[in-house]
Each structure stands twice: as C-alpha cells, then as structure tokens.
C-alpha cells in the first residue's frame, strides 16, 4: 500500500520529521517529492508512535514544510545486482552515473547485509603477494583480511593502494574483481584511481562507487554498504576474489557524526556517536571467506588520521576491528622513502598463520621478528644519538644506526613499479641483518641463522 503524506513537521540538517504516519517500518526507504517536481530518497531512522524521523540522502536544501509529499515504500534500502555491474560507475547510493543506463537486476539485496556466522567462516590463510617488501615481509596481507592503511593528508596512501591492487591482482588470473568506494574524496583522487585502473587494463573488472567531496554527506553513510553488498555478491555468488578499497573512512565517520548530531544523539568521544565502533564493525566485518564457497572479500580501507594522531577515535576504533594496520609515517615520507610504511606500529594479525613453510618460506617469521626487534633498537639508538650525537654512540649502537639507514633505503624504499617476489624480499632482509654480528640477532635460533646469515656482509 503506497500512502502519500503531505507536508513535513520539521527539517533539521539532513533530517526531516513527519507525523501522523501509521505503520512505518524501521529502516524503510521513503521517497520525498518536492514542489518543484524533483524527488529525493530518504530512510526512516527513528519511529516514535506516529512521528517518524527521516534521513534525506540528497540533503534537505530547498525542502519546505508545506510542499513536500512523502511516500513510504515499505522496503529497506536495496541495490540491484547482476554480473553486468563489473566495469560500471555508480554514485554513492549505487545509482549508475556513467550514462550506460540502469542495471537490469538479477537480484536485489538489502545493503545492510547480515553478519557472517563465525561457524561458517573459513579462517583466512592464503598469502597475497603485494610485491611490496615492507608489507609482504612484515605485515603480510592475507586473502579475506581487512587491512587498513592509516595515513595522513598529503602522504602517498593512494599510490600505495593502487600499487597493492595492481600487483596483487595479477597473480589471481581471471577470478579477481575490484570494488572501489570513494567517500568524500576529491575529484582528482577518484580520477587518479580510475586512470590507474585503466592503465593497468583492469577497468572491466572494477566497480566504482563515487561519493565525492561535494556530494551529499548522508549518501556517504550508505556508500560503503552498497560497495560491500556488491563485493559480497561478486565474491560469494559469482565466486571471485574481490579486493575492496574504501577511501576515505575518515570522511565516512565524520558524515556519521554530522548526522548523529542532527538527530540530537548523545555524543561520545570527540563528538562521534557512541555506536561508532558497532557501525564501523558492521562494515569491516563484511570481509572474509566462507567455508566451502569459492571467493573472498579482502578489504583495504584507507583513512587519513586527523593531525596524524593514531589515538584519534577513527583510527583507534578501526584498529580494534581490523586485522592489523599499515601505518604510514610522515618522517619517512619527508625523507623521500616510498612507500613510507612505519613498520613498527604496522601489523597483520592473520600473518602468523599465513606465512612459513607451505605458504611463503620457513624462515619468514623468524626474519620478520628479528627485523622488527632490531629496527626497534635502531629507534632507541636514534633517540640517544639525537641527545649525545652519533659519534658518542657505542660501537653496537653505531652498527644499529647504519643498519637502520640501509633498512630504510633498501628494504622499505622501492619504486612504484617495482614488484619484488617474496623470495627476493626475504633474502634482502637477511642480507641487511647480516650487517650485524650474529650475536646481535637474538630472536632467531641457530639453525635458521646457519641457513640464512650471510657471511662477509658484516661491517
């Protein structure tokens, strides 16, 4: 039954209030017809008796209390899916904007998705070779993982994401697809991703959802949900290995905050709503694999840390949900090191089960441990050197300093097009460690050292 309601009761930010509504359903989609003949889409967010709060996706500009007609559709937000969505470009709500017409739906799905039953999950173990040493060796990406990039404005997170996507998808042959969701990013950034996909000749395997910086904020809240619904469809119905790039999660969370504020909700830390954790989790947890089903959803969310502060609620809560993080560092970036991955705070939680014999190489975990432990000591030596001067350092600390420099220049640093195999990466790590005397490598047992310690490199 389609009931039309004339007039509104109030408008506040992106929220419209309407009363006298019978039988409204939670999360139901409504259409709002304006006096000038245009129409907008909204979603029921709160019901109190016959009073209903509606979130208007395109914003409430130009809406008046008198001339708005509201139609309740009786269904939640859904999205049209078909194998033909590959290669298409949509707006933040999943409506085509590439001029190729509507998608003929094979299936429609609620964009909110449903949680994957932990019993049905397949524990991710397959290593994805990104060809980037710092990631492959020290924060290994696993198929079905959610591994965000914590960056800051002006750092090269977009380049890194493109390089990961390009180099990791090559190995997959025909079975891969990419879902790219832009939330509040600049037009140039969206263009950069698009032209990179075109250059890599993968555009026919990409689905793009664009909610750019000047697009309505409220749509932004739905963008990742649409993207992940598409990704789940491609992965678990069409059995592809899907890599989802979500950028920029900071804009998403800020949209959520703005919207929460207009609803008059009680704010938590830094004004973000108390449910930010649950909300982010409902997105990130949609990565994974299902036992007995071919296909996977791997997520690479990108977020810019406000003021490079990792304790800000957005990176903080993200880190608690995702399976590790890749943190970019401004000092390394200034030094011209690309990718500027700060390896100490970076981490991949699934790495421990996806590396080693049968996956990468038996010495991988020992090498990673030793590299990180040693590089942590380099930081101590650096701190000391900045106080007393490098000349005054002990012999051991001087060795550490030169190891640190070589590690940054040769291991972390690589070119945008360089695709190192895991074997090359690990061997490079061992040859760098071999600059140090054997007794300084206290995380590795002798058998592994015998096999990999390179004699003659030591300074």
């Amino acid at each position: 039954m389609m009931m039309k309601h004339l007039k509104l009761n109030g408008v506040n930010g992106s929220l419209a209030t309407l009363d006298g509504v019978k039988n409204a359903a939670a999360e139901e989609i409504v259409e709002l017809h304006l006096g000038d003949g245009t129409s907008r889409t909204g979603r029921v967010v709160k019901i109190d008796g016959d009073e209903v709060n509606i979130q208007v996706f395109e914003g409430t500009r130009g809406m008046s209390m008198a001339n708005t007609e509201t139609v309740f559709t009786g269904r939640p937000m859904d999205i049209a899916l078909s194998p033909e969505i590959l290669g298409r470009v949509f707006d933040g709500l999943g409506r085509p904007i590439d001029g190729l017409g509507d998608v003929y739906p094979v299936e429609k799905r609620d964009v909110n998705g449903a949680p994957i039953n932990p019993v049905s999950r397949e524990y991710p173990r397959n290593f994805i070779q990104t060809g980037i040493s710092s990631i492959d060796a020290l924060a290994t990406l696993i198929r079905g993982q959610k591994l965000p990039i914590f960056s800051g404005s002006g750092m090269k997170h977009n380049e890194l994401a493109v390089q990961i996507v390009r180099q990791s998808s090559i190995a997959d042959g025909d079975d891969f697809a990419i879902v790219f969701a832009a939330m509040g990013v600049k037009n140039d950034v969206a263009h950069y991703f698009r032209s990179s996909f075109e250059e890599a000749n993968v555009m026919d395997r990409v689905v793009m959802l664009l909610n750019l910086a000047n697009d309505p904020i409220v749509e932004r809240i739905m963008t990742p949900r649409c993207a992940l619904t598409i990704a789940e469809y491609l992965a678990f119905t069409l059995h592809k290995h899907v890599l989802v790039v979500l950028t920029d999660m900071t804009s998403y969370a800020e949209a959520l905050r703005e919207f929460s504020g207009s609803k008059g909700e009680i704010p938590g830390r830094k004004g973000f709503p108390g449910y930010l954790y649950s909300d982010l989790a409902s997105l990130y947890e949609r990565a994974g694999m299902i036992a007995g089903v071919e296909g996977s959803v791997t997520q690479i969310p990108i977020l810019t840390m406000p003021n490079d502060d990792i304790t800000h609620p957005i990176p903080d809560l993200t880190g608690y949900i995702t399976e590790g993080q890749i943190v970019l560092d401004r000092d390394l970036d200034y030094k011209g090191i690309y990718p500027p991955v700060s390896v100490l705070p970076s981490l991949s939680r699934l790495m421990k089960d996806g590396i080693g014999e049968g996956y990468t190489r038996d010495d991988h975990s020992a090498l990673a441990n030793q590299l990180l432990a040693t590089y942590a000591k380099v930081q101590d030596a650096k701190a000391l050197a900045s106080v007393i001067g490098e000349d005054e350092l002990s012999a051991e600390d001087k060795l550490l300093m030169s190891f640190g420099r070589a590690f940054e220049a040769e291991f972390l640093n690589q070119s945008f097009t360089e695709n190192r195999s895991i074997g090359e990466t690990l061997d490079l790590g061992w040859s760098l460690l071999s600059m140090l005397p054997r007794n300084m490598l206290d995380r590795v047992d002798d058998a592994i050292l015998d096999a990999h310690y390179v004699v003659g490199v030591q300074k």
């Binding site: 939670a26 649950s278 989790a281 609620p313 100490l344 975990s365």
Partner: protein, 584 residues
Amino acid sequence: MSENKIYGINGPVVTIQGETDLSMLETVFVGNSRLIGEVIGLKKDLTTIQVYEETTGLTVGEPIYSTGAPMQVALGPGLLGNIFDGIQRPLPAIEKKFGAFIGRGAQFFALDAEKKYDVTLCVQAGDRVSGGDVYATCPETSAVTHRVMIPPDKSGVIAEVRGNGQYTVNETVAVLKTDAGEEIPLTLVQHWAIRTPRPIKKRLPAVKPLITGQRVIDTVFPIAKGGAAAIPGGFGTGKTMTQHQLAKWCDADIIIYVGCGERGNEMTQVLQEFSELTDPRTGKPLLERTVLIANTSNMPVAAREASIYTGITLAEYYRDMGYHTALMADSTSRWAEALREISGRLEEMPADEGFPAYLPSRLSEFYERSGYVENLNGTDGSVTLIGAVSPQGSDFSEPVTQNTKRFTRCFWALDKSLAYARHYPAINWNLSYSEYIGDLSNWYRDAVSPDFMKYRDELCALLSEENSLMEIVKLIGADVLPDDQKLIIEIARVIRVGFLQQNAFHADDTFVPLEKQFKMMHVILHLYHRAKEVVARQVPISKLLATGLFDKLVKMKYDVPNNNLGLLDDYLQEIDTVMDGILR
C-alpha cells in the same frame, strides 16, 4: 490482558505505550518475526525493550509477546565443545537454518535434544536432596564428566528413579517431590536467569594459583584460582593472543571463552585451533573442555551486552559441579560500549565519556561473580575471570580501564612499545601488578621451592633497577655507567629477552612448567651473582660478555626442552666453571 503493540523504534530499542503487565528484565518476542528482546525500562505509560536482533523492517503496531520469564540459559550436557551467540543460540544450528549469513527471528534450544547420554543415577528413591546435590552423572565429552544437580532453589525427597542408561537431555531420569508436595520431573537440564549469580555456600580464600605456563604471569604476576584479572592494551598489543594462550594452557578444568564484540575470524580461529590442539593434561582436544560464546562486533549490540552474563552463568554452573573454571572475556570494553550505546538510546544522563553512571556497579557485579567457593553440595570450585580491556586511544585513564582496575586484583598492562619490538607477551613489568602474591606465596613455597618468592622478588628488583638506569642511559648513553651498573643492564636484558618474552609459536616455549620457570630464574640469578662477584674484583664487563654466557642464557628457553630440565643444572655448572676460570 491488553495486547502489547510496538509504539516506537530507535535502533535496537523498542517502546510500548500504555500500561503493560510485563515485568522488568522479562524476555519478550517482538514483532511478527518474533525477534528476541528484553524489558529494560518500565514507566507508567511507556515500556522500553532492547531487541537482541536487527530491527530493520519492524513496523509500528506489530505485537509483542510476553514469556513471563527473565533471560535465561539452559544448563546441561552438550554445552562443552559448542559455540553459541550472546543469548545462547547455538551457531551451528543457526548455520543449518540460515546458511552462512545469520538470519533473524529464530529460537533454538541451546543443547542437542537428540543426542543420548550415558547416564548413571546417583540417588535412590527416598533420598533427601537439596539444591546443588548431584543426582546423576554422564560423560559430557571424553574429557569431562557432567554432574547433573538439583536446581539451587529446589529441595525435597526423591520420589522415583529411572534406571541407568541412555537418555536425551529432556527425558526424565528421576522425580523430585518437594516439601510442598509438588512433583517435579528431573531431566538433565535446568534453567537459570543470566543476571542472577548462582548461590554458593561460602567463599573461601583464593590461595592456589591458576597455572598458565606463561612465565611473566606465573612467576611475576600470578593470578589465583577464583581471582580476577584485567588485560588492558591498545590494538595490536596482543590482548587476544594472550587470552588465547591462557585459554589453551591454563590448568582450569573448564574454559568459557567469550568473544564479546570482537572479530569473526578470531572466533573461527579459536574453533579450529582448539579442536586440533590437545590438552596436555587429559590428552583430549582442548575444545572438549571449552565453551565458546561468539557475539562478534557486527552482531546485534544488545546480545553483546548479554553475552558476558551468559558466559559467567555457564562458568558458575560448572563451578557448582566442583570444577575449576576460567572465563576469558574479550573484550569487556565492547560490553561497556554496548551499555553506553543502549543507554544513549534511552536518553539517560551520561557520566564519564558518555558511559552511563552505572558502569562501575555493573563492572563490580560482574567481577564479583568470580571466586573460590564451597558449593551448595559441599564441593570446592572456582571461577577465575580474565577480562581484556580495550582502552580508547590506548589511554589507561579512560573509565572502563579505571573502573576495572578497582574490581580486579591482577593488572596485566600491555604495552605498545613492547609490542612494536615484538616482545610478546607485551606485559609491561613496570605498570602491571598482582595483589595475589602474598596469598599465593605459601603455595609456591610448598609446591615449587622455598626460594621461589625470594628469586621472584630479586628478579623484579633487577628489572626495576634497570628501569631507573635506563633513564640515565637515555640521556647520556650506556658507556659512562660503572661496570656493576652495566652488569644490571646486561642481566636485565637476559631477564627480558630470555625469560619474560615467550614465543607462543615455539613447541616448547608456548607452555613452560613451573619447575622450568623456577630453574630458569635460578640460572639467570646465579649468573648475576657470580658475575657481580667477578665485576667486584675489577674484571671489566666486556670480558664477561665475551664468554657468550649471557647470549646462551637468552636462548636457554629454546635450548632446554620441557622434558629434560636436568640440562639446566649443566648451565649452573658451566657458569661456575667459566667464572672460576676468569677469577683464577
């Protein structure tokens, strides 16, 4: 009776207008799809219900059905080895019904109603029984015998007993006649409201440690059986990893592992790993002594709030049988956030950082359900609580960490910089503490060695001395220190890397028996004492370091297998020989 209808919907909170006959904390079914909910507020003209499932599509005017009972769990054989959501619905049954994605509005009986257990009756007709008495036993898994008890609030005379044999959980095995003359059939199942602690006879002092096989815990910051510990740490510091290690190796009889608002993949991992790993004490798969409760971060928030209580009720039930149980809650911060989220929807007045003012009292209620007790049936049992805390922004001054600290006596503070250096478990020895040391020292004296506590204190003193020396080193470098202080720094390195740090992926190092912990400590301190003697005679420390003894001790955790501890005595001898050689 007036019919209850939905009036308002706000996320997981649903309201009913007008007076109702519902009672506080009663379980209700909401809407035509019968979603599970719980009454959390009663006013004259408004009843508030939190719904344990996603409310999308719920419509105003749909009916609300009362059940007349509070949220409760089914207790009986079939819990162990199973995995439940926050309100005790078995996830495998949900999978069977809905497939890989969790659907809504389904009710399940928590236990396997088809499975037959080999039941042995241990009462006879005419026996007088009261709450807690065991009337039947059955092997629940090959590792654990289930003792079926009279519910705590019932007593009377056994009127009838069926014979030993094969029964399903819902079949009557005996009949109880209460003093009021009511006949109650006794099956293998009883029900208990999750928010009510199960009664006990009395509390006993907690004087036995929970042995975990983790050196930094057992030796430095031990926890008692029946104690409560908090593991706070920012992301990536290894909270979950530590909880997994404890769940795998600690010497409790029963483990309840609650994944409260955490990652789905982690629960999958626990499920897989625990069915593959064997319990070193019984030789059976670890899963046979474990109950998993998984309410992952993307599952409904109200059920997350309940999951902690579901878990603790199961733990208490096994405690009542006379078992030592341990509950790992990962993470209590997510539970506190669920409280905050629901409190926000109720528009309650927020206290610290938006958390409700009743956060401290809820936390204390929860942690006080731990304890070493004498049960109603006279057996001893314990519930040990180990709660992970995920402080916002890794800042330990936030409300959940601070309030948890007040109600736990063990504080294992995880440290980011240790984790960055891949020093795991990243328990910071300067920030952590255990108040159980005094209570447990007699046990260590009698069961391990009279010297245990003395060595432990010396170890801690060295670490704390190193800590103050490092302040100087950070400013002017280690070179200027006198040799006896350099020695402290060197020996502290051996303690840190060789003792405190433990490799969870190493076959021998993942679990270390107390005897080995003690002997390792002995060897390290022996080296220190002898080296101190040598340094006092003006031998330069570089000469000591050149012996390679320090590096050798760092690796002894790998070099000495757990089943050949005699090797550690050779270390003592070698130290003596080398030192004597230097002095000669």
